[in-house]
């Protein structure tokens, strides 16, 4: 919708500029649009923004994007011919301070629409459900559900297998991509890489939730375990009372017989609570 509106406005501006022969304005507009599109593509691909203040040119940035992606994925995002044409026109544009002929302006618009046709996957986007389904052989969320402490060991054992599986799949997809460029495959490679890095860097071990907590399945599961907090609280309470009683018994030896009842109640309650905890919450 936004693009359609932009096209309509652009159409009107082109008409007017043609009538007034103000090609300089068209040249500037075409370069601003191309520059914005290139910036968007670069950032979506996880690149740094173009250093406009340092005088980094559009074609130089395109070359940089191509170089990095050729190194990582053995693909070039922008066609070399496009970069070549744009480099010539951009240098001319800068030298002549925007005074370009209609033919050159047409070529820049041509490049702009070519770039708009590119379906660039957003590297920063979260993994979609489709991608998850394709990786169903590996239960990605198995380590995310409740009881973190007991599962941390299993998780660390599972991690290398998971990473190995991801690397293998990444390699296979890269081979496919070498043969023929496919947007979906490319997107999947990027997703796999993102997940792999997330797993590699995962240190806090927290479950990230995006919506409401009560709708989270892991939270719902973990709620079943919270019953023991009350038991823990009572154990600590009786332990504190028991400690005071024991110290009192040491301080006032003649009270030992009387105090022993208190001690029995306190420590007896701790033992009972321990077994209650074991019976009701231990097996889960």
């Amino acid at each position: 919708m936004k693009e359609q509106l932009l096209d309509l406005k652009l159409k009107r501006l082109i008409q007017l500029c043609k009538e007034t022969k103000n090609y300089k304005k068209l040249a500037v507009v075409s370069f601003v649009l191309t520059s914005n599109t290139i910036d968007e593509i670069g950032i979506k691909l996880g690149m740094r923004p173009r250093e406009k203040n340092a005088g980094e040119k559009i074609f130089e940035y395109m070359e940089l994007v191509n170089k990095i992606f050729a190194l990582n994925f053995k693909i070039s995002v922008f066609k070399l011919k496009v970069i070549e044409i744009l480099s010539q026109i951009e240098l001319l544009f800068l030298r002549k301070q925007g005074d370009l002929g209609l033919e050159h302006v047409k070529e820049v618009f041509d490049i702009y629409y070519e770039l708009r046709k590119l379906e660039i996957p957003n590297l920063h986007e979260n993994i979609n459900s489709d991608a998850l389904n394709r990786n169903r052989s590996i239960s990605m969320f198995s380590f995310l559900s409740g009881n973190q402490n007991s599962k941390s060991k299993k998780e660390s054992a599972f991690k290398p297998i998971l990473l190995h599986k991801f690397r293998e799949e990444e390699k296979a997809l890269q081979i496919q991509l070498k043969k023929e460029f496919d947007k979906e495959i490319f997107e999947k490679i990027l997703h796999l890489k993102t997940i792999r890095k997330n797993i590699e860097q995962r240190s806090k071990g927290k479950i990230i939730i995006s919506g409401s907590l009560k709708d989270n399945i892991s939270y719902r599961q973990s709620k079943e375990h919270i019953g023991q907090f009350l038991v823990f609280g009572l154990i600590i309470l009786f332990a504190m009372m028991g400690i005071v009683t024991v110290i009192e018994a040491f301080m006032f030896g003649f009270l030992s017989v009387v105090i022993s009842y208190n001690m029995l109640i306190c420590f007896g309650a701790i033992v009972v609570l321990y077994f209650i905890n074991k019976a009701y919450f231990g097996k889960r």
């Binding site: 618009f109 995006s210 309470l237």
Partner: protein, 249 residues
């Protein structure tokens, strides 16, 4: 039927807070001495907020002899306890962990809740250990007959301390529940896509096409008298060619 522990804990927590608040105004410890004739000769009451007090006037020497020395908790701790208690009440009543976006806010309140439980624990454990026992004030209850003085002494914790015990049991589960939730779950700071789009929007060069069109229209209108009009159909044709060449038509 499964129990919703979280809701139960929350109710417990609020009750615990009420009891904790009430406790500071109630008596924490009683020391009473009754003579053989049934007359009260010693009577000391301790309140966390109002210190040791006695119903006897200053001249009662026997009563004054039994006045507990250095058995007073600093009032500052009690005031800190009351402030913490109010902050915890605010978090429990207005910030439910399950509600959207409350996880981040609760991270700040988690510290307050844990401090509250620690303070109650401090009262439960430290008060008898550091203030009662060194002064010969027995814990929790003791009835002791002094044969020399022929006085029966009653040592007993009061409702204030008893409320603290209950308060600990009631506040601990919810505070720990919140702590465990905050340590297990993390709210996604913001949608990555939104952040990226915002960033792209920030670095994008502004282009006001409406303004450019308006200027161009103005320019055209002002020169329309002197210039011959370009046939509209011709402009349309050029633009059609332009689009066709770019594969958009």
């Amino acid at each position: 039927m499964s129990i919703n522990f979280k809701s139960v804990y929350k109710i417990f927590f609020v009750v615990g807070l009420v009891l904790g608040f009430a406790s500071v105004f109630l008596d924490w410890y009683y020391l009473q001495g009754i003579s053989e004739s049934g007359e009260t000769v010693v009577y000391w009451i301790y309140s966390a907020l109002f210190d040791w007090s006695t119903p006897f006037s200053k001249g009662a020497l026997f009563n004054e002899f039994y006045q507990p020395k250095n058995a007073t908790m600093p009032v500052a701790i009690v005031i800190i306890f009351i402030i913490t208690l109010f902050l915890s009440a605010y978090s429990a009543l207005f910030h439910d962990v399950e509600r959207k976006n409350n996880l981040l806010k609760l991270r700040r309140f988690n510290f307050v809740n844990l401090s509250l439980v620690t303070l109650i624990g401090f009262f439960v454990l430290i008060f008898p250990l550091f203030f009662l026992l060194p002064n010969g004030l027995y814990y929790p209850f003791l009835l002791y007959y002094d044969y020399e003085l022929e006085v029966t002494f009653y040592f007993s914790i009061g409702p204030g301390y008893f409320f603290q015990l209950i308060s600990f049991g009631f506040t601990f589960p919810y505070a720990l529940f919140n702590h465990s939730v905050i340590n297990t779950f993390e709210k996604e700071q913001s949608s990555v896509e939104n952040t990226i789009n915002q960033y792209i929007g920030n670095i994008r060069e502004e282009l006001d096409l409406d303004k450019l069109i308006a200027r161009e229209e103005f320019k055209l209108e002002s020169t329309s008298d002197s210039q011959s009009e370009v046939p509209k159909n011709e402009v349309e044709k050029i633009y059609e060619e332009f689009l066709t060449a770019r594969g958009r038509k």
